[in-house]
Amino acid sequence: MKENPEVVLDVRSITKTFGPTRALVNVSLTVRAGEVHALLGANGAGKSTLIKTLAGVYVPDSGSIWVGSEEVHLTDPVQARARGIAVIHQQLSVISSLTVAENFLIRSYSAKQSFARNSAEASGHAQRALDALGSTTRPSDMVSALSFGERQMLEIAIAISSQARVVIMDEPTSGLTAKEQGRLFAAIRQLVAAGVGIIYVSHKMNEVYEIADRITVLRNGSNAAEFSKAPWDRKRIVSSIIGETAAEALVADSDLVRVTASEPVILEVKNLVTDRVSGVDFEVRKGEILGVYGVVGSGGPQLAEAVVGARSYTGSIRVNGSPAPRTVLKARRARVLFVPSDHRTRGAVAGQSIQENVLLGRGQWRRTAWRTVSADLHQRVEAAANRLGVRRHSLSQPISQLSGGNQQKAIFARATFDPPMLLVLEDPTQGVDVGAKRDMLNEIERQRASGAAILMLSSEVSEFSTADRVLVLRDGLVVGELRRPHISEQQILQLSAE
């Protein structure tokens, strides 16, 4: 099979439009048995539309989809699954209130096959599929008790047991620990060895270079380029994603060491204890970027929430010398601003306009009881959106019409609309494309240069390219600190794993 790999999925020239928006234009993609085919592209390039089309969520306007030697018409997700296309979305679709075996039961049997709940058989299926992946999860486990990585492994096991020929993985490593990522890659290699074709969607280039056999890049809804392995032409891959040759701007100037020791301390955290955080001390000075790294479950998000007033704690947090406000509302008034992770669910209000989202939480009942936005304020929102490069038709457009990266930029504009004193960023550039990442890093640098203290928390090592110092959290404790120019991804990972 290796010599002449059969094509398991052939997407031929599909086009999909939504009203005036052309999301996909003559996009083609072939996936061979036993290969990992990475699908790359900036936010809004059409990856999500393509995945949803293959998942049977969207029906293409023209073009055809072939599985093996058969043309398929996928009009709903059940059909896609029946044809052997399994999609593992970022938001996993296992049901947490059921057991592992029950999840197998509802997913791998269609209603026609059986009404009877054949638990014993489902358990057997589940056990075999999980064993094949080397997972220690048992069929009788409740899904709610599993970690994110275990749930993802469960999704893959379900895909295997339903005889999937193509498995599409959308940002599979976000939220995984380094160990879990290793397990995931092992599972992928197993699938590949068994002749399954994988479509791997990710923004993390290092991962892609490691696992992929081929790369297809989409840009503005069309095929931009295709690359084959060994050796990867990294520069050309990145520039084909962003469509320009400005990729260098991303590389951190890691030799530069800023001296901030004489600057005033803006944030001082002493013996902070809250959920998952068990006694943390640190300080951030004016004009300094402090990174805090921790794998999922290390307490990073809880730490961020305590600092911005969204979580109760014991210990001391002082902002500019005075005790930190205990509510988000008051923290904002003290110029402590927060960009939460997962901007779709925790940042954006989908039904509201870009302008309303940028201005959300600004203004107080007593002082500005009227909602009318003055022409002046409108101009400022316009300027903030331009500064961050929020691609839009108009500010009155609902934010949900924007791509993920542009939504995130709008949430950024909210936090930096009035100059912050302390900017707390949680996974600031996670899941966004290279261009959007650059826009946001530039904004962070602007805020830093104009005197903001910046606290940046993430479970992604790659987020810290601009940090002056990086603290490493493990199980709610600081286990190490790195300073420029001695910050490297390896060292961070090593510290967190010890």
Binding site: E356, L359, R362, W365, W370, T372, A375, S394, S396
Partner: protein, 342 residues
């Protein structure tokens, strides 16, 4: 999605300046607006009933419809605000029952003429009752995180229970002409007073939703409470205020309805929450929160009012009317969902 855009453009008139270049024409905005089908449906219903009954399309009948929907409209406006915030309030009938009993008790000693002072005292007392109910609903929903469905189901029961235990649940006639005049039977500035209060309630709601910061925050809390909270919106305060507004509106409705039926009745408004929610939902308000308009709710209430009035004029008995009303509501919401997918 594009319909949502139109709807928000409609809701947020105050958030202008919209870019002139992208602003659609009035006609286009009207046709694509979410309530457009409702306007068409209303027109069709009115033509239909006008053909079937000569009496339907008359000023007298229009006033009749107005009187019939006045009370439920006030309640519906209140529930719309709560629904936009992503909460629900079922306690209105309880609030109205307590208010009605209170009105009966306060006005008991008034003679046939009654005193306007006592009428005013009644109003203030009842608004106080509404405020109390709203604060209790808000406190338990926000502070103790009990879902508003449960809290208000509880206060509905408490309210009706209190009203029924007072005076053994016996209704009490209200004779005070001053009270009846001010709240239902008389005219103020040439307008039947019964019709004036829904208009006042409408104006208050429009100002609240379109002109105040509270209005924007109401939509944002209903749309995404977590994101709003992390952005610094006082989510709890917004929810409490929404529940308070709803209860206060219900207490006003209780006073008006007591004047209309000329008595203090403990079971004065049983089931009104369902009619009010129906009007709001018919008008495009989403039960999940984040979307809804005051104009939509008014139209929703008018459609329901026109349907029952027209059917009555056609001589269709009340149980059958109930069936038709139910079908109309479900059909309207289905139509809305089909037009605005997802």
């Amino acid at each position: 999605m594009s319909n949502d855009l139109e709807m928000k453009a409609h809701v947020n008139t105050a958030l202008k300046p919209l870019d002139q270049s992208t602003r659609p024409g009035l006609m286009r905005r009207a046709v694509t607006s979410r309530i457009f089908p409702l306007i068409i449906a209303l027109a069709v219903l009115m033509i239909f009933f006008s053909i079937r009954s000569q009496y339907f399309f008359t000023v007298v009948n229009a006033l009749n419809i107005g009187r019939q929907i006045a009370v439920v409209l006030i309640v519906a406006l209140g529930i719309t605000i709560v629904l936009i915030a992503g909460e629900i309030d079922l306690s209105m009938a309880g609030v109205m029952a307590v208010c009605s009993i209170t009105a009966g008790a306060i006005l008991q000693k008034d003679g046939a003429n009654g005193s306007p002072i006592n009428a005013l005292i009644t109003l203030i007392a009842c608004l106080g009752i509404g405020l109390t109910f709203g604060l209790v609903n808000g406190l338990f929903t926000v502070r103790f995180r009990v879902p508003s469905f449960i809290v208000t189901l509880g206060t509905l029961s408490v309210g009706t229970g209190l009203a029924l235990s007072y005076n053994n649940g016996e209704p009490r006639a209200i004779q005070s002409l001053a009270f009846l005049d001010i709240f239902a039977l008389g005219q103020i500035a040439g307008i039947p007073s019964l019709l004036l209060y829904p208009v006042i309630a409408f104006v208050i709601c429009q100002i609240l939703l379109k002109r105040t910061l509270f209005g924007v925050q109401l939509y944002s809390v209903g749309g995404n409470a977590e994101a709003s909270g992390l952005a610094g919106v006082p989510v709890g305060r917004v929810r409490v205020l929404a529940l308070v507004i709803c209860s206060v509106f219900a207490s006003l409705a209780g006073v008006i309805l007591s004047a209309r039926v000329q008595s203090g009745l403990p079971n004065i408004a049983t089931g009104i929450e369902l009619d009010a929610i129906a009007a709001a939902v018919l008008g495009g308000t989403r039960l999940a929160g984040g979307y809804g308009t005051i104009v939509g709710t008014v139209l929703g209430a008018v459609v329901i009012g026109v349907v029952s009035n027209g059917l009555t004029l056609m001589g269709i008995p009340s149980p059958a009317q109930s069936v038709v009303k139910g079908v109309v509501i479900i059909a309207a919401v289905v139509l809305d969902r089909v037009r605005n997918k997802d």
